[in-house]
């Protein structure tokens, strides 16, 4: 039987390659200066969903939340074989913590409607919290199966999944619908398919078309830019290349539960870790020297 999957994906800063240039003077990270990538484990989640569709039929819908630029990851999903992409973008969603984010994503999933399995990567490399998956499952009122390393079988409404539990593994069986988080060792994500890249590289969301229209008509009045954007959107849609763009109203979100207002956790302070390394501090091999070094490591929180 065919299965409909929804994959939750995220565009993240490439934290493995942060350089000193990406740090602002106040010690915070300048996100705009960072290259962005497709969150690695979300690619494994997409691959699992595509394998299910290839084997059983059905559909794969990719959903992401982020600024208009996050449409990049939706195009990347389309290149690899996703049937549909949806960008959830809204300024009122900014500063959402994991609880608010999972609320918004779960509303988006509900708006998509029918699904058998929601797949997400275990965690995103910018926060490494691994919380959004389980929290979405709770908000959807369905069981979660975390840390998939192998989808063992799908048989009618029943799924068997092998979970990596760190010091071993277990196979669990559950009834669909479920939400599954996928780990990096689950599979090797397929590369983009050349023919699909040719076809979908011009796929755009409305916000991108609006920004382009504005750039092409410098100084033009707003309504003129608006009309141009609409005209372009109609043309792109005609070719089946308009990626859906939703805001919080489209998904019926309660604004009290979104953004800063919906986030119980607040960032109180941020300190940067000095990234540049110029030589080393020579520690004299005496008790005082060693004690001073340990003290510094406690101060900079290397040691608890």
């Amino acid at each position: 039987m065919p299965y409909d999957s929804i994959v939750l994906v995220k565009q993240v800063p490439d934290t493995a390659n942060i350089t000193a240039e990406a740090m602002k003077e106040d010690g915070t990270v300048n996100r705009a200066a960072l290259p962005t990538i497709f969150n690695p484990e979300d690619l494994n989640a997409l691959e699992t969903a595509l394998e299910v569709r290839d084997a059983y039929g059905g559909t794969v819908t990719a959903v992401t939340m982020g600024p208009p630029k996050a449409a990049d990851v939706l195009r990347a999903c389309l290149f690899r074989g996703a049937d549909r992409g949806i960008l959830l973008t809204d300024r009122r969603a900014a500063a959402s913590d994991t609880l608010a984010t999972s609320y918004i994503l779960s509303q988006a999933v509900k708006t998509v409607g029918r699904f058998d399995i929601v797949f997400c990567g275990r965690q995103a490399i910018d926060g490494d919290t691994a919380q959004v998956g389980p929290q979405c499952a709770e908000k959807l009122g369905i069981p979660q199966i975390t840390y998939l390393e192998q989808l063992v079988s799908l048989d009618g409404p029943m799924v068997r999944i092998r979970r990596n539990i760190g010091h071993g593994w277990e196979v669990v069986e559950g009834r669909l619908p479920v939400l599954v988080t996928v780990i990096g060792s689950a599979n090797k994500p397929r590369p983009p398919a050349a023919r699909r890249v040719m076809r979908f590289k011009r796929a755009k969301v409305m916000a991108e078309l609006a920004a382009e229209a504005k750039a092409d008509k410098p100084g033009a009045p707003d309504d003129e830019v608006q009309a141009e954007a609409q005209r372009r959107a109609a043309a792109v849609k005609e070719k089946g290349l308009l990626i859906e763009q939703w805001n919080l109203d489209d998904i019926g979100a309660d604004l009290e539960r979104c953004g800063l207002a919906g986030s119980p956790t607040k960032v109180f302070r941020v300190q940067s870790i000095v990234l540049t390394k110029e030589g080393y501090t020579e520690v004299v091999a005496t008790e005082d020297g060693v004690r001073q070094m340990i003290h510094e490591l406690v101060i900079d929180r290397t040691l608890g």
Partner: protein, 342 residues
């Protein structure tokens, strides 16, 4: 969410599997004790499972005053929904101000589900927890005795301090080995409180089909601190020093290929191109010259301390702190300094 309850206890989720407590739970009991003492409240552990009453004694010896025992055959194997129901029911019943979980496979599965159901905050993988008064920079309101949840973010490039102002309970996960393990005090007294929690069949959504547990291996990947020894350690006996420092600091033991080839330690501890690649918060290389194959496996560590008698050893080229000296003298000094810290 629950309203701030200044008399609320500090809780630890007592993760156990097949009747044995996870080490991180024992560490967290010590931390909960410390936080509870600062706040002037009690520390407690929530112990769900099947026939797990004997574990309560150990939790009390590690520092908690109360153990909420939920003994039920339906809890014999961990699965998210019934365990989450236990936590949310007890949190609503007793209104703790802080709930800590180990950042284990189980804790990271359970805690966010509980947080979502409670509509509460959750901070993952804290490396430190403190109590402090905090003034909200937006409203200028002073909040007394909040839990500072301190964690690395952005791939370890920044340290963020997270707080929940009036939106409680304050919940966090902590990785194993981050909090020091306090010695057990068998003379401590505490209460075991039996709790009834309704667990209907619909919560048992998953069926366990098969399970494979591997013997506990060296966990170099997850370690926040690694103390590694090389050929310069000189003998298997001397390698004891490496273990001692690792124990004092709460870290894992690593080795260079020279130490493995010399028979000082097993291959599963080897770090480098042919062993494990690691990037802990702190890497201490003792008696390791730092061949490129070794450096490739550890140079991404956030902080590196190199101890070597040879001033020209290549390990110093990747070090943040360099100590030119005999590790047999330097390591005991480090153990002493670590024990005396704070």
């Amino acid at each position: 969410m629950i309203d701030p309850n200044r008399q609320g206890e500090v809780w630890v989720f007592a993760e156990q599997e097949d009747g044995s407590l996870h080490d991180v739970v024992l560490e967290l009991c010590g931390k909960a004790r410390e936080l509870a003492d600062t706040l002037g409240v009690k520390a407690a552990a929530v112990l769900p499972g099947n026939q797990v009453r004997p574990l309560a004694k150990r939790l009390i010896a590690q520092g908690v005053d109360n153990v909420y025992l939920v003994d039920n055959p339906k809890l014999s194997h961990f699965q998210t929904l019934p365990y989450a129901r236990v936590m949310t029911t007890l949190i609503q019943r007793h209104k703790p101000q802080i709930v800590l979980y180990g950042a284990t496979a189980m804790g990271r599965d359970l805690a966010p589900r509980v947080a979502s159901e409670m509509r509460a905050g959750m901070t993952a993988d804290c490396t430190d927890l403190e109590i402090s008064d905090v003034t909200d920079p937006k409203t200028k309101t002073l909040h007394k005795n909040l839990l500072l949840q301190i964690r690395p973010a952005f791939g370890g490039n920044i340290i963020a301090t997270i707080v929940n102002y009036d939106w409680w309970p304050q919940m966090a996960t902590v990785r194993e080995g981050v909090m020091p393990l306090k010695p057990a005090d068998e003379s401590r007294r505490g209460n075991v409180v039996e709790e009834k929690v309704e667990l209907d069949e619909t919560l048992l959504a998953l069926k366990l089909i098969q399970r494979h547990i591997e013997p506990r291996k060296v966990n170099l990947k997850g370690a926040r601190v690694i103390v590694a020894g090389g050929g310069g350690v000189g003998s298997k006996d001397n390698f004891r020093l490496i273990y001692d420092l690792a124990a004092a600091i709460g870290g894992a033991v690593g080795a260079s290929r020279a130490a493995v080839d010399g028979g000082y330690i097993g291959k599963e501890h080897q770090i480098g191109q042919t062993g494990t690649t690691v990037r802990p918060a702190l890497y201490i290389a003792a008696g390791i010259s730092g061949a490129v194959q070794h450096r490739a496996g550890m140079e991404e560590s956030a902080k590196i301390i190199a101890i070597n008698t040879d001033r020209d050893a290549p390990i110093f080229s990747v070090a943040h702190y360099g100590i030119v000296g005999d590790l047999k003298k330097v390591i005991p000094m480090m153990i002493k300094a670590v024990k005396e810290r704070r």
